[in-house]
Amino acid sequence: MNAITRRGFASGLLLSFAFAPALAQQTTPVAPRRLPGSLNTNRRLDAWLHIGADGRVTVCTGKVEIGQGAVTALMQIAAEELDILPGRITMVSGDTALTPDEGVTSGSQSMEMGGTALRFAAAEARAILLEKAAARLGAPAAHLRVQDGMVSAPNGNGVSYWALAEAGLLRREATASVRPKPPAEHTIVGQPLPRLDIPAKVTGQAIYVQDMRLPGMLFGRVVRPPSYAAQLLGVDLDSVRKLPGVVAVVRDGRFLGVVAQREEQAVKARLALAAAARWSLPSALPVQADLHAHLKTLKHDTTTSSEKQAEAAPVAQRLQASFTKHYLAHASIGPSCAVAQYAADSASLHVWSHTQGVFPLRGDMAKVLGLPLDKLRVTHVQGSGCYGHNGADDVALDAALLARAVPGKPVKLQWMRDDEFTWEPYNPAMVMEVSAGLSAEGRIVDWQYDVFSQGHNNRPGNPARGINLMPAWHLEQPHTPPYPRATPQPAGAGDRNAVPLYDFPNQKVLHHLIPEMVLRTSALRTLGAYGNVFAIESFMDELAEAAGQDPVAFRLEHLRDPRGRAVVEAAARLANWQPGTRGDGSHGRGFGFAKYKGLSCYVACVVDIEVDRATGGIRVARAFAAADAGQVINPDGLRNQIDGGIVQAISWTLKEAVRFTPERVTSQDWDSYPILTFPEVPQVQTVLLNQPDQPPLGSGEASQGPAGAAIANALKHATGLRLRALPYTPDRVKAALERS
């Protein structure tokens, strides 16, 4: 993969086989049979696979590598079904000119959608090759064996895939009629295959979009307004144009940027341009201390996420509580970056981006730039971890707006640290209100839940309804974002995981979507699930205490789902959970559980914490987790995701909140938005419950909710303090301990 990535940098990626995804869609019948995964929307076999006469196999995927190993796992799936060694495969991912359109790489869907499609496509390709081999070898296909692409008949005669490969072999519509291998026969899937991209990343090979160097490349930087509402009162562009190395200074409305010969010249010109601009700075944001009360006063669109009624024992005791969380930043270590190059005649544009969705980005960008879709190519190149919708898409438009001023020249633009922190779309602040009734026997018989949140999914991809690229909002002819809409259950968005997996006879869950953009928001790992699981699992502990029961036993009392029960029991066993233990004022342990989205990976988590009552500081000493992600494709990759999610959630829970004043966002760097550091990271012990006969489930977002909730419950266990407002920073914990 590295080789092809580097070749792509130098010459523009050229593959030697015919490929026409748009044509494939046009020839699709009106009501085609539903095909598995992303095969349904990309129905040609040659959109996915190419068997080369040279012994190489090219696998095309619309999913992209965002640092979680997805492309390696997809390669394992293709190698498995084709019966070839993974080393024969070249992966091509995320290119509007080359790969299937699989939308966005998000929502832990790469295995479920992209993996399923590749599995069926590769199984069918193998069958096509075996059919040809059978004719060549004079033996029934069922009697043939394949080893690394060499097909052999019982009489010892053989022929390789590479000898059978011919142009047009896979130029046909997929039927998904060939059953993939049963899991018991897997030899590559299920193995901890090393990631394709790690050697390059630890030796300084060119692998990120930040590493691209094109002939004649210039460097861009943008100057943002000081706040969302700030208006440009005046700017002296000429003073900046005179600076050393400056090639272009761009102003379009309140969009400002510079292009320079050298990167440090662009950085200096950016500072000069910022100093040369005069802005209004109105007080347009709420007071942060009043944020959650303010959110509830805003207009909201209410949908019912779940409602059920049944006969049940009367309510003997009712509890209610309100939980809150603040805005969280993606806080990628590397600020977002893109390279854009207009053709010399300005008629077409090529953009290299670490976007999670090359096709959706192309749609929004084409509309803003007034280019036909076929004149805009977006190629994915890896970037720093994004964890959702960070600045990746915005910076691609920034780069294009600057490249437009220098036709024929590539422009590389990496945001500065404060661009990323102050302009990325945050995970929304949320309010979760819950009320539940316990029967005299201590069972939950009624559950009422309301979640208030801004939109969690404001990605590009709906150009007909509006443009979700921030720079477009600042242009002289501004675009506006689409009106946010709720994502339907069961996945949900603000109400993701708002519907508990537990069995309550009566429940009502309402989602109140706040359309106003107080701070800009969009998708961060888990969307609303982290906040909702924090609230639900905190409240389950409160109810367990009111019912006089152990938290784990109380959960099992209300949980019928057998895989959920197994995960809860496995985590309790792993951590040697002992009912009835008491915290000593500073040490405690807590439990948290969820099935991500209500339809994906199950995770239960136990954490042990230490609280410094003098400072309010919390240290997570150890974490334990049990996970069921269905069939395990790559156990090492799965562990990396589960463990990494727990560490990230500890950081969210103990440290993180985007800071702002009524004028502006003030989290601008790592001092004003601190994250968890090495000495604060606990050891994590994880057990995987493999389900070889179940579909593989995404795991990148499954452990955050349970880990956050487990910390909340551990704090209560340790100190008796039930803290319902995130984050648990020392000052807030100390103040709450003093109040309690």
């Binding site: 090979q205 990167e263 999610g645 760097d669 000495p679």
Partner: protein, 153 residues
């Protein structure tokens, strides 16, 4: 612009740049090295770390003029894909990366640590990496990789 001579990964290199240019940009853009990465430009995150005379140094806030003539080592100077340094080998063996953007700083900081403390304890490794930020939550694998490098040298 001035001609500045640098010693990078054992070779003498001449570049044309203003003396106040951050070393990071010279390494990345003039010398086409990818190891040191721009993370914050503020010396806070550690992604841009190189060794100057063996000392871990944030190249994003180090002026190139200040290191003229001094010995600079980047990630590329430790080893190549064909001849990996023990730390690089250990990072691969432990699969100690998700996005990998921070890996440069982790490996360079670990190199400096092991050069001065060949057998650090786990808390010493965590303390040495305390000012190097990772967002993917890969910390424990990074610590394990440093421990493996100590073991396997």
């Amino acid at each position: 612009m001035a001609a500045i001579t640098l010693t990078v990964n054992g070779s003498s290199r001449q570049v044309e740049a203003e003396a106040d240019t951050p070393l990071l940009y010279v390494l990345r853009n003039d010398l086409e090295l990818n190891g040191p990465r721009f993370g914050c430009g503020l010396g806070q995150c550690g992604s841009c770390t190189v060794l100057v005379e063996g000392q871990p140094t944030r190249s994003c806030i180090t002026e190139v003029g200040a290191v003229a003539g001094r010995s600079i080592t980047t990630l590329e100077g430790l080893g190549t894909p064909d001849r990996l340094h023990a730390l690089q080998r250990a990072f691969i063996a432990e699969q100690a990366a998700q996005c990998g953007y921070c890996a440069n700083g982790m490996i360079m900081a670990a190199k400096a640590l092991l050069d001065s403390h060949p057998e650090p304890s786990e808390p010493e490794i965590r303390d040495a990496l305390a000012s190097y930020l990772c967002r993917c939550g890969t910390h424990n694998r990074i610590v394990a990789a440093v421990q493996r490098a100590v073991r396997e040298g």
